[in-house]
């Protein structure tokens, strides 16, 4: 409980940074699943370094080759342009500059969002960005019900893709690729009696999709503000806070075990809803401190294997909820994380860069 004094260990900054650098330098064959989402993994690794203020511990050569690789993933074709997860479906020798992608190697909407953030972290000038192509691509992904498919023509959809389309539009400062009214109706259809949002209509309220719903509603300038009624806002705040359990961590659904990533998803949603001050931040910090793996990286729960996803989201949660003066003592400096923009899920500096360099 927050009353009790507890000894806060330092945040193992160097260990967490090297966990991410290790992943960037190579993954074992048992991680082949990353093929289909490698740009997202890159974002969690590079984003962790950004949150730790550790980008300057990487070499200019590395940063340049990361940028080159990410630009390699931008691809164009009949559904417009965007970024694919990796070259996992691209045969050697790759696409010539005049060639277009096949139906099995199209851009992917989540990867396009993470690519824009990665390139912003790497302070790219975005001269190579095909803005008009991305707008067309988002149009090709939006479905009749307002939701977005992960790749054009697929039936695979959930709220995550909608958030990515909104975040991309926000970064481009161009909303002509999305129909926000239809999208907002889809978001509303995912709301549940508990006060959170499920990943699709009729699904159970879940922390990640609730973040995505609330952040999306706040990103779109065309939608009415505030997007929730007073009663809705109260019940969402209530449900989010209820998810903080006795461990101090947050669970993603009522009655499940706490998991480090939901400290971000629930915590960021509360910040967006202006209810940040209601969290027991010291307990949250205590939980995340216990999720640190002794050889670097942060895992979803104490004693589990760390990964870049949970490392990034834990650090992002700590950026919003640092330990209070009363518990940090001499370790305070180790817990300092770069300030984060809760709507786009990147450091404020990176978001500033994105907003200044991505629009046409």
């Amino acid at each position: 409980m927050s009353e009790e004094r507890f000894h806060l260990p330092p945040l193992a900054r160097a260990g967490h940074a090297s966990h991410c650098k290790r992943c960037l330098s190579g993954l074992p064959g048992s991680q082949s699943e990353v093929d289909a989402s490698k740009l997202a993994l890159s974002f969690y690794c590079i984003g962790s370094l950004d949150l730790l203020g550790a980008m300057d511990t990487t070499s200019q050569t590395d940063r340049q080759s990361w940028k080159d690789w990410i630009w390699e993933q931008q691809t164009k074709g009949r559904h417009g342009s965007g970024f694919r997860p990796s070259s996992f479906m691209t045969p050697r020798p790759g696409l010539g500059s005049s060639e277009t992608y096949t139906e099995y190697d199209t851009p992917h909407i989540i990867m396009t969002y993470t690519a824009l953030l990665c390139l912003s972290i790497l302070r790219d000038d975005f001269l190579k960005l095909d803005r008009a192509g991305i707008i067309n691509f988002m149009r090709a992904c939006q479905r009749d019900d307002g939701s977005f498919s992960i790749v054009p023509g697929s039936n695979e959809t959930d709220l995550r893709t909608l958030y990515c389309a909104f975040a991309i539009s926000h970064m481009l400062n161009d909303w002509s690729g999305v129909d926000t009214t239809r999208a907002a109706a889809f978001i509303a259809s995912c709301r549940t009696y508990e006060g959170g949002y499920g990943q699709a209509p009729f699904c159970e309220a879940q922390g990640g999709t609730t973040y995505i719903a609330i952040a999306s509603l706040h990103l779109a300038p065309q939608l009415q503000k505030p997007p929730l009624t007073l009663v809705e806002r109260q019940s969402t705040i209530h449900w989010l806070l209820q998810n903080q359990d006795q461990s101090g961590g947050f669970c993603g659904r009522t009655g499940k075990d706490a998991d480090a990533c939901y400290c971000f998803w629930c915590g960021a949603t509360l910040e967006i809803l202006d209810a940040k001050h209601l969290i027991d931040a010291n307990s949250l910090v205590r939980f995340l401190a216990s999720c640190q793996f002794k050889y670097g990286g942060i895992s979803k729960a104490p004693g589990e294997t760390p990964d870049p996803y949970h490392t990034y989201l834990s650090l992002a949660a700590l950026a919003m909820y640092p330990p209070g003066q009363d518990v940090a003592h001499n370790e305070a400096a180790s817990w300092r994380i770069e300030p984060i923009d809760p709507l786009l899920n990147a450091t404020k500096e990176t978001v500033k860069w994105a907003r200044e360099h991505i629009p046409a």
């Binding site: 289909a36 690789w69 990943q199 309220a205 001050h277």
Partner: protein, 340 residues
């Protein structure tokens, strides 16, 4: 993050490489394109490299044949998140007019093996949309929930299936099914959520048109479950859900809630069992936070100096004793109520 370690197969189960099979000699395997310095290069196993080289080769020629089903199955077993392999497999099944019940059998195995992979469930949806035979799916889902009773994909699939086909026969056994799930684990929020979906979001179905009766039944059900396990946020959320959805004042539940918000020694001893208001089970840890909160909501709504004073008192007991994790929240509720 996909970091699932795959079940390592014994050498006997490992099929030969495609490059070693004469029947594949007409296909040119295509290496993956990688520039000099990929981010997070994956050190692919020989099996995976072989299967994906042949898969890229097949995609290039556009072949859709029986052997492509073998090949895509192999790729999927090695990487169930490979959405292009799933997509190509689906198109191949359609092109060949393959029997989809056979495919669903295979999916029964893969769904349980890769329970947390979105693609497995997505593929299944596509198949069932074509077979238009949703009934056996309910049984499959029930089996799959035995592996993981709170699996999000599994429940979503069930919700989709019911809503998409919206067939009276499908809905028929749903209330019994979900009751069985809550009986197995009264804290399974997925089951409570599903119950809300079935009762309040599925339209007015046969036998459910008398809403007053349905609401009464649901209130009885949830009160009974709270009496068995008082400290169960899923049940309390469900109770609030019923009341909110039907504009029923919380005060109507005052009689029921009070004993749960009271210390056991302060409870009047009574031998009379009020069926409308089942008392807490013996040994329940009382007072419990969700009941205190519920009662405070009633007082807040009642308003006036007296109501707000009683609400504030309850919030203080939550902040200081019964729900200290949310101390700041209860203090905020108190300030907020007294302000107006």
């Amino acid at each position: 993050m996909p970091s699932v370690s795959r079940n390592s197969q014994s050498p006997l189960d490992t099929p030969p490489l495609f490059s070693e099979r004469p029947e594949w000699s007409d296909i040119t395997p295509l290496d993956q394109y990688e520039d000099a310095n990929p981010v997070a290069p994956i050190f692919y196993s020989a099996d995976y490299k072989d299967a994906t080289d042949y898969f890229r080769g097949v995609v290039k020629t556009g072949e859709k044949s029986e052997r492509v089903l073998d090949l895509t199955e192999r790729v999927i077993r090695l990487n169930p998140a490979h959405y292009s392999a799933w997509q190509y497999r689906y198109e191949t099944l359609i092109a060949l007019g393959s029997p989809l019940d056979v495919e669903l059998k295979l999916m029964d195995e893969l769904a349980v093996k890769f329970l947390k992979t979105y693609q497995v469930w997505h593929h299944r949806r596509l198949l069932v949309t074509l077979t238009r035979n949703p009934a056996p799916e309910l049984k499959f889902i029930a089996t799959s929930l035995k592996e993981d009773a709170k699996n999000y994909h599994t429940w979503s699939y069930r919700q989709w299936l019911l809503a998409y086909f919206n067939d009276e026969d499908l809905w028929q056994g749903e209330l019994d099914f979900v009751e069985m799930m809550t009986t197995q684990d009264v804290r399974n929020n997925s089951a409570w959520h599903h119950r809300f979906f079935v009762v309040f979001q599925s339209g007015l179905r046969e036998g459910e048109t008398d809403r007053a009766r349905v609401i009464k039944r649901e209130l009885t059900y949830v009160k009974h479950n709270i009496s068995l396990a008082a400290n169960n946020p899923s049940a309390w959320n469900y109770l609030r859900g019923i009341l909110d959805a039907n504009n029923i004042p919380y005060a109507d539940l005052g009689e029921f809630v009070k004993p749960y918000a009271t210390s056991p020694q302060d409870l009047p001893v009574s031998d009379l069992v009020d069926l409308e208001n089942p008392p807490p089970a013996k040994g329940a840890e009382l007072p419990c936070a969700p009941a205190i909160e519920f009662l405070a909501d009633i007082y807040e709504k009642q308003g006036g100096q007296d109501g707000l004073r009683q609400a504030a008192e309850l919030w203080r007991s939550l902040a200081d004793e019964h729900d200290t994790m949310r101390k700041k929240y209860w203090e905020y509720r108190t300030r907020d109520a007294l302000k107006t």
